[in-house]
Symmetry: C2
């Protein structure tokens, strides 16, 4: 297997990324290749400093960088030699046979990764719009949230496909048997919600072989009510970031409260916090696939540490080996008749 | 001042509601009136059982009830004698002068409350669409979130008005000087987000006298980055419920972890949790006003306890005394020229 990684993506790039790549050596088979995409001199120097030599590691020189704050579409168009664009190209049908990678990873500008993947990889047959599927380490087990931000203004049929594709992903990669698929809404009752949610609800209900459990409210998100939660990219992205911020703020508030109450207790509480973080550690969850593109892009958290990257490489190997894309294409063909827009060949 | 309360609304109605009304007696002035709206026999019996007599308390007989799960618009149309519809009518210009209430409260079906208020109270001059403004007791101080669910598919100009109205509310009722108003988005950079967000962003930027600080991401929600956060009703509702569910789940996870780790520590931790809950207690925050209607409706949490209701009555008095609606009308007239849709008299 051949994987490519954008070494310039993320708040702690390139150091944490390269360190993570080195740590991932133990997960790679003898005939695997890991292509480090970024400025050749920086990569070579870092590997030298770390006295790391491994014939399975290759370098793809990409002198340019797309920064975290840059406007995705224009940056991807302008910076053909950036690590993100080069990485996306390596993972696309545009790459030559001996260069083409089975999966690519980045912790960089998410919008730019999505744009570069869409431009280079294009969509899988039958897919309206790609969506990001993030696996959240919730208290009752992993929850797949799709879309986490690729498509802020989806149609109902896009949401429907996110449900179908995430179901395939949860089964084949996470090994969840008959995943409970739910649709995020402002109420659990029929007739609630926006137009696109109502449309997606009807399509999901009509999908054979899908364990669709109906609407789920924000309150049930962390209560173990569903294995897959479908929503628009705007809500998904907001909810994901808010959960992260709230958990952090809450632990800070607890720490401060303990300190004011009884500083000695702080030391006792530390292992508790560590244990909870370990059980619900997003650093171990790997990258989030952009489902629906003809390739395998895994988007990692912007604040990825070296262990986040090592875990993402390990998980990317599992995902590629699970042949998710083949399963998605087959499944979408199977249920295509449900979605009239698809039958009529409406532009996606 | 005359207030009306729906005694049949909420998970613990009518007991907790009536108990809360009784507890609120201390907050009422001698010439205040509190109208208890619901089935007369139930109200009379409960007051008798509690040996409560107070000439400031009146009863409005409303034999019918709209349940929490009922479809709002059809229930409001069909059940004219429900406590929610009667309550909304009492707080509207439709009520006779001697009956008309300055403010009304309910912990019942939120959608039905919004629908009943819109039908009876109508909109304030210049308002496109009413929005629910919830005050969240965040760690760095209160945050006003608008809209929390009245309008799941707003236009950009609706979002803009939520910013303007919530700013007035934060100043006049919460006493926040020059509130920092932010717009929820999937990124902090210019050019990010959906079409309505971009439109609202331009309108908010162009509004004189508004301390608009730009986009805010979900991550900053609980980090004290803004005093007022504007978003669509779908995202607002989801985020609000998710925060509640996550905080609850996190405390449960901590409790379980402590118990597994060292059961003796559980007792030590209890006062810490209680203190944090007390500092960030939504039961003390009062009802959330539906900003933009020609009346004062305060929507209380569905799981309101008696103390939630007592606090809501206390806060409703403060809000009514602050004359928020007059200030909103004046402020919207002042900034009307910014919004072309308003100038052109486009249907809202």
């Amino acid at each position: 297997m051949r994987l490519a990684i954008d070494v310039m993506g993320g708040d702690q790039a390139p150091d944490a990324i390269l360190k993570g790549c080195i740590a991932a050596a133990e997960h790679l088979d003898a005939d695997d290749r890991l292509v480090l995409v970024g400025p050749k001199d920086i990569i070579e120097q870092t590997l030298r400093e770390r006295k790391f030599t491994d014939a399975r590691y290759l370098i793809e020189d990409a002198p340019d960088v797309i920064a975290m704050h840059e406007s995705p579409t224009s940056a991807v168009r302008a910076k053909k030699d950036s690590s993100i664009v080069r990485m996306a190209r390596l993972g696309s049908p545009k790459a030559s046979d001996d260069e083409r990678c089975d999966g690519v990873l980045s912790a960089g500008n998410t919008g730019a990764c999505v744009a570069a993947a869409q431009m280079n990889m294009k969509r899988l047959p039958g897919v309206h719009r790609p969506g990001i599927a993030v696996t959240i380490p919730a208290f009752h087990g992993p929850v797949v949230l799709c879309d986490a931000g690729a498509n802020p203004e989806p149609r109902g049929s896009h949401l429907w496909q996110y449900g179908v594709m995430s179901d395939v992903y949860a089964r084949s990669v996470l090994g969840i048997e008959n995943p409970r698929v739910a649709l995020m809404n402002v109420g659990a009752e029929e007739g609630k919600g926006s137009g696109i949610v109502k449309q997606a609800h009807e399509l999901l209900k009509a999908t054979p072989g899908l364990n669709y459990t109906g609407f789920v409210e924000g309150r049930e998100f962390f209560a173990g009510a569903a294995d897959v939660i479908v929503t628009d990219g705007f809500t998904g992205n907001t909810v994901l970031k808010m959960a992260e911020g709230l958990a952090k703020s809450l632990f800070q508030a607890i720490a401060q409260e303990i300190f004011e109450h009884d500083p000695k207790m702080a030391m006792q509480f530390e292992p508790i916090v560590k244990s909870i973080y370990k059980k619900n550690d997003y650093h171990e969850m790997g990258g989030a696939p952009l489902l629906g593109v003809n390739g395998s892009l895994f988007i990692c958290h912007g604040s990825s540490e070296s262990r986040t990257i090592a875990a993402a490489i390990r998980n990317a190997r599992l995902a590629v080996n699970a042949h998710v894309n083949d399963a998605i294409v087959a499944r979408l063909a199977e249920v295509a008749a449900i979605d009239p827009a698809m039958r009529q060949g409406e532009p996606a």
